[in-house]
């Protein structure tokens, strides 16, 4: 009975300690879902060719999208550093200038990020459009291509 209680107590202490570590400890620094452009650049040569997620904002006006070749190029910034991204992927519906995005891929020797996967990070804002507002929807060019050919 006493041994049982001890096991239970040790278990509870372990769980609480683990939880405390989660909350106050360093796991927040280790459990990084994506790096920002300036963090990736700070890694220098070590970053080249190693698979990583990169997150930041699409620099307005930097997007070139070729719907025929499914070839997307844009620059991504975190305010401090900027990296050019190249993806052979159709942009998701919400991909546009100034949007938060996360890409999966590798930094090439040429300093261009070769993305195999492209995700849009939505903000926590939900608003109706202003009158006359037309959202920038690049994916529609794909639909049009398919419709005419």
């Amino acid at each position: 009975m006493n041994a049982k209680r001890l096991v239970l107590l040790v278990g509870a202490v372990l769980v609480l300690a683990g939880f405390g570590y989660l909350v106050y400890g360093g796991i927040g620094n280790n459990l990084v879902y994506f790096l920002t452009p300036s963090e990736l650049k700070a890694k220098g040569a070590a970053a080249i060719d190693s698979p990583v997620r990169l997150g930041g904002m699409v620099v307005p006006g930097s997007v070139t999208w070729n719907a025929e070749a499914i070839d997307l190029r844009f620059r991504m910034t975190d305010g401090k550093g900027t990296i050019e991204v190249h993806a052979r992927k159709a942009p998701p519906q919400m991909f546009r200038d100034g949007q938060g995005v996360v890409v999966e891929g590798k930094l090439t020797r040429a300093g261009i990020f070769d993305a195999s996967n492209l995700m849009v990070k939505h903000s926590n804002e939900y608003r109706p459009p202003a009158p006359g507002h037309v959202p920038q929807e690049m994916y529609r060019s794909l639909v049009k291509e398919a419709g005419t050919s």
């Binding site: 927040g28 459990l31 998701p92 996360v102 939505h122 939900y126 109706p128 459009p129 202003a130």
Partner: protein, 241 residues
């Protein structure tokens, strides 16, 4: 045994039925309002409307485990099995809302984020919550000793309750693809109104579902007890029924 079970005190089906119809109508009206009366979002258009299912489901998935934990504590304090049965009934409702939150999140993520699933801290911790509901219910099926089952259930409920805090804070502690919590200042008032109405609709459904399951659990237990009693009764009449 002094467990305090009394069939007459089981929630009356009539009141339960009435509440069920009320919850259903409230839910339909709130959903219809959200779908028909709110404008499309400037970025995601009508896809925003999944919010009225996804967000309330996610809230209920967290709330239900908190309630399960509360009932678990009540059992440990009072040693009355009715609290344990209430906890189990709430967990059965909770796992449905957790599954719904994961499913609608995935459906929402594909067109807006571009992916069905990713292992960021929010999605992972919510998936862990689902597993903790499943584990809670699976463990209950593994033992016949009611008091022991109730004690262990309360212990697991404490772990699950800790995890709801991790789910809630995950988007603040870590970088995630999932955005941080919205607030009335980041969401248009029209969306907020119908989000709130739907949150109440989901809460009513959670309560109705849990109360119905609790009633079934009580009736099942009453029947089991009377069968047991009959089996143990000395057969003085000498007649098998």
């Amino acid at each position: 045994m002094g467990t305090g079970f009394d069939a007459a005190r089981v929630l009356r089906p009539r009141g339960l039925q009435f509440f069920g119809w009320f919850a259903l109508l409230f839910f339909l009206a709130s959903q219809a309002g959200g779908l028909l009366l709110t404008p499309p979002d400037r970025d995601m258009g009508h896809l925003q409307k999944i919010m009225y299912v996804h967000v309330p489901s996610a809230w209920m998935s967290l709330l239900a485990y908190a309630i399960v934990f509360g009932f678990g504590v009540m059992f440990l304090w009072k040693r009355d099995l009715k609290w344990d049965l209430m906890a189990a009934a709430t967990a059965e409702a909770g796992i449905v809302f957790t599954g719904l939150a994961l499913l609608t999140g995935s459906i929402w993520g594909r067109p807006t984020w571009g992916i069905w699933w990713t292992w960021d801290a929010r999605l992972t911790s919510e998936a862990v919550l689902f597993i903790m509901y499943a584990g809670y219910l699976a463990l209950r099926a593994m033992t016949d000793d009611e008091m022991r089952r109730a004690r262990w259930s309360a212990a697991i409920a404490a772990l699950g309750f800790l995890n709801t805090y991790i789910v809630y804070m995950s988007v603040r502690w870590w970088r995630t693809l999932h955005q941080i919590q919205s607030s009335p200042s980041t969401v248009d008032p029209q969306y907020v109104l119908f989000l709130r109405l739907n949150a109440f609709a989901f809460l009513f459904i959670l309560i109705w579902f849990a109360a119905s399951r609790y009633r079934v659990a009580r009736l099942t237990r009453d029947i089991e007890e009377s069968v047991e009693e009959r089996a143990l009764r000395p057969q003085t009449e000498g007649v098998h029924v």
